[in-house]
């Protein structure tokens, strides 16, 4: 079974068909997805800027990281759930789209980023506050997070610009304006 067949199978489930074909369901899911990106993506950016000492400098790193953590987690779960529903409901259309795969790779790298930096940076913000100079690992975590979280919405937007080469495309239509 090819990956494309898997994508077709996902789209053909009754739930994904319902998501795609029921009026307003897809737009509502997308609105939720984008609202979460705007609200919680902004919080991630501000956390990274605080780690770099470029914003919220009068707040401790522990306060910013700890204060925003539950909201970022909730936002991330909603964002990913909505994203999966959107991708699943049009899976074969997304399959040939390089921006979709780039975005998926970046999300995977977000997971790697968390695995690497959570134990050595984000779980010990008090140590960062005590340190006279911000450790290199914390700066690296913030810069990589900034790059990842700016690239993800950019790739998400570029998904809508991809028009498959008709000679190679698996599907005739493109993901328009999404």
């Amino acid at each position: 079974m090819s990956l494309y067949s898997v994508f077709e199978s996902i789209q053909s489930t009754s739930f994904m068909t319902w998501v795609e074909q029921t009026p307003w369901v897809y737009p509502i899911i997308m609105a939720t997805h984008l609202s979460c990106i705007a609200v919680f993506g902004g919080m991630i950016l501000m956390t990274d800027l605080r780690l770099l000492g470029l914003a919220l400098r009068d707040q401790s790193i522990a306060e910013v990281v700890g204060g925003l953590r539950p909201f970022k987690r909730i936002g991330f779960v909603i964002m990913v759930t909505c994203g999966l529903l959107m991708a699943g409901s049009e899976a074969p259309t997304y399959y040939p789209n390089p921006y979709f795969w780039t975005k998926m790779t970046l999300l995977l790298l977000v997971g790697v980023h968390a695995l690497v930096f959570k134990p050595i940076v984000y779980d010990h913000p008090e140590e960062l506050d005590k340190s006279p100079v911000l450790p290199t690992r914390a700066k690296a975590a913030a810069v990589l997070s900034l790059v990842l979280w700016v690239s993800i919405p950019v790739c998400g937007r570029l998904i809508g610009y991809y028009e498959p080469d008709e000679g190679k495309a698996k599907t005739p239509q493109t993901v328009t304006n999404r």
Binding site: A31, V39, M43, A55, L68, G160
Partner: protein, 153 residues
Amino acid sequence: MVSLAFLQSNAIADLLNNTEWGFAVAECFHIVFFGVAIGTIMIVDLRLLGLAFPRVTSAKLHHDTWAYTLIGLTVTVLAGMALFLSAPRMYSLSGWFQFKAIALFVAILYNYTVHYKVASSSPSPGVGVAVGAISVLLWVSVVVGGLFIGLLA
């Protein structure tokens, strides 16, 4: 319609409509800097709502974030105006664009009047919650309006 006909033909429209990546780049700036603006506003809103930063006043948070909010909103609005100029007739006729434009105007006005005044003071919990909740609703309305312009075009 004369003014729109004039707007229809402009250097920004030429750049955005006749280059491969012009429109996409403008959209990316629009989206990323909107995230910066709304993210900083939400930090203050979370404090007003009593959901985060209990040891810091909303005035302090507002003082620490206002510059990022201003930069974010400025770039967002400039990129948005460029996007509008790429097809002014189409956007002007879109009900969702009109909704977004009104929501954005109200949200910015609210942000720099009521929100600014309350966040800069020491509001009672009730006032803080009300002002923060209205702010969240206004900015989410702007996101939703912007999304539906493209989705239902």
